[in-house]
Symmetry: C2
């Protein structure tokens, strides 16, 4: 008598546990099948309705084209993870993710990763989350450091052949790394391959950042104008002393990922104005923009080659075509003719600046150290200035 | 013999299932205990090290203060959910979340919610995710529409009494709703309570957005300058026809949430310049700023009362204190004296504008319909302008 009762209890317990496990798992598994064609239908169950609405709103001509593109994201940290999530939710065709780091609790002050993922590799944790979010996207993840010799070769191979159609290059490489060495590796690879890419960065004090579009031969590459700290030969490792870490904020990184992916969408889907450089100064809510010509004396041999190719292509094009092609490259749909102009004139800038180093054409310094003695406005010089103005007026009167 | 074998198999199966369930659950539960004090220690397991580094970097004087603040987020959609996640990861003391909507697959083109949460209430799903991310934050969620009479009373009660210390008001209310009615309800509540709040919004075509700081009596409230569509008495429901939905992008919403929470951090932790209004035009990467005085003829009686209170307080303060207090309110730490100036002069604007309606002091129109005949520059008028310049020069020469 006792045996069957015990068996029944055990059988009931197995059923209960199996149900519980199924419930637990259903909460994590992707509850939708892959979707063959993006539909503009407005229903609660269509994950693409709000994106397809961009066509009806007159913003994007052909939103479905997003499914044909492949983007490589290098660095899946504070900016890269959110970048990958945004592209996944937008329904990008394929994502290649590169990172060699592990998720740590110390990353929890930025978006995307969750505490239970601590210890997993960033690319593995990201792929799991992103597949659940959108099973229509193809993922290819590489858990390695792109700067070592072997990995660099493999990285070059994958960005030149890893598109949706195997053997074709990716459409865009996004640099979301946090160090100079990795940026330089991406720059070297893209210069050699002629691969268009976008750079992103956040300052160590967490309150500024930027994004930048780099077209090999057409714009300055990362080696054309290296950051001052590197130009000054300061070893980057000395900046990362034990017990010292950079500050970071989910806000700044979210904004940088947002403006980066917005620039990607504008570039791939051909709408709005693609920014060459967009900065974010969080302290003052200031967003500087600029563009930079390549340095003919760039230390990267492939950059100089790409510059020659670019010039030859530009020269070979018939006049009308040049304009069309240029528009195609820069996506400058500027219907209202809005121009970004500096509020400071070149003369004012020169007067307030210190000695300028000799630089090749197209390169300018962000700032100089003003020579105080030269620029000090004493009462005497102010008086002189007044006098010469009056002299000028007098001359005009006598003209 | 068969019975014990079966029992053993069942017992083994129960053990297996229990272990599997435990593994499944451990992957979702928060793997860290609550943290009593924020530490600046740089270890992989410290979720606050990168935030505490803001002190060492000279950005924030007292970062730990974040744990004393309570913020209410109204609307947990594309902007509100990311806003709540950023505040949670920053270690805010307490969050109050208000929403009455359910998660749908149609929300998956924006950050935060995941497909397996479809069908859950947004506040319930958000609370579950956010608690896992940071168990140090206190949550209070309300699954209702704040615009109905009963709920509005309850909403007023919670924002005036729901701080960490029960009975005290929240430090800030954030509006992340998507309709005029809900914004107006928040505006009414905050005007009555004298509660400072921030507004956010994203356009229906998904490519622009804004955030705004509203200090009752000190700045224009939402009723001081209602949107044109509402002023023109167009029923909002006619805009939401069946089969028509607004477009949305994770990029734009991520940027708006990022600049909103950045403004919240600057306001609460007293660093940088708090923006009164910051817009985001994604097509041109343009970020307009402005500030607006309250309308003395505002239709909201409580706004007019708050304006009187504000004026009296300003007048009652000793001169020096006024400056200090004003700085405290607006957080205008503008060390470099950066000023935002319009690139268009008032005269230029007037010349290019149509007839201006009569408006109370402090209110301006965003644009007017130019009177084409008056502004048409014919060859004749251009010639006249040239002539008068020459006349002027001639007069100067003859002076």
């Amino acid at each position: 008598m006792a045996e069957p009762g015990r068996r029944e209890r055990l059988e009931r317990r197995v059923r209960e546990l199996e149900e519980e496990l199924a419930r637990e798992r259903s909460g994590r598994a992707a509850p939708r099948a892959r979707i063959e064609t993006m539909s503009p239908e407005v229903t609660d169950t269509n994950p693409y309705s709000r994106l397809m609405a961009l066509k009806r709103m007159g913003i994007v001509k052909d939103y479905e084209k997003i499914r044909t593109f492949t983007v490589a994201v290098v660095g899946v940290g504070g900016v890269g993870s959110v970048t990958a999530e945004m592209l996944t939710r937008c329904g990008i065709g394929k994502l290649l993710l590169f990172d060699y780091d592990k998720v740590e609790l110390a990353n929890m002050n930025r978006l995307f990763f969750q505490p239970h993922q601590a210890g997993l590799s960033k690319v593995q944790a990201a792929e799991h989350t992103l597949r659940n979010i959108n099973p229509d996207v193809q993922f290819e993840v590489h858990n390695y450091n792109i700067t070592t010799l072997d990995n660099f070769e493999h990285f070059m191979d994958r960005i030149s052949k890893g598109a949706l159609e195997e053997g074709k290059p990716v459409d865009l490489v996004l640099s979301c790394v946090d160090n100079f060495e990795a940026r330089m590796a991406i720059n070297t690879a893209c210069n050699e391959l002629g691969q268009t890419w976008m750079e992103s960065g956040v300052s160590e004090n967490a309150v500024s950042g930027h994004i930048q579009l780099i077209v090999p031969g057409g714009t300055a590459c990362f080696a054309c104008a290296p950051p001052l700290v590197v130009a000054a030969n300061i070893d980057e490792k000395t900046l990362k002393r034990e017990g010292v870490c950079a500050a970071s904020l989910p806000t700044t990184m979210g904004v940088v990922a947002g403006i980066l992916v917005q620039n990607v969408l504008k570039y791939l889907l051909d709408f709005g104005t693609v920014s060459y450089y967009l900065g974010y100064n969080a302290m003052q809510d200031f967003f500087p923009t600029m563009s930079m010509k390549p340095n003919p004396q760039c230390s990267d041999n492939n950059c100089r080659k790409q510059q020659e190719n670019y010039k030859q292509k530009e020269a070979a094009r018939p006049k009308q075509e040049v304009i069309d092609q240029e528009e195609e490259i820069v996506h400058e749909d500027n219907d209202w003719g809005i121009e970004l102009v500096s509020e400071t004139s070149e003369e004012e800038l020169k007067a307030a600046s210190g000695p300028m180093p000799e630089l090749p054409e197209g390169i300018t310094v962000a700032y100089t150290i003003p020579n105080k003695e030269e620029n000090l406005i004493t009462e005497e010089t102010a008086a002189e200035a007044e006098e010469s103005l009056e002299e000028l007026m007098a001359k005009m009167r006598n003209m």
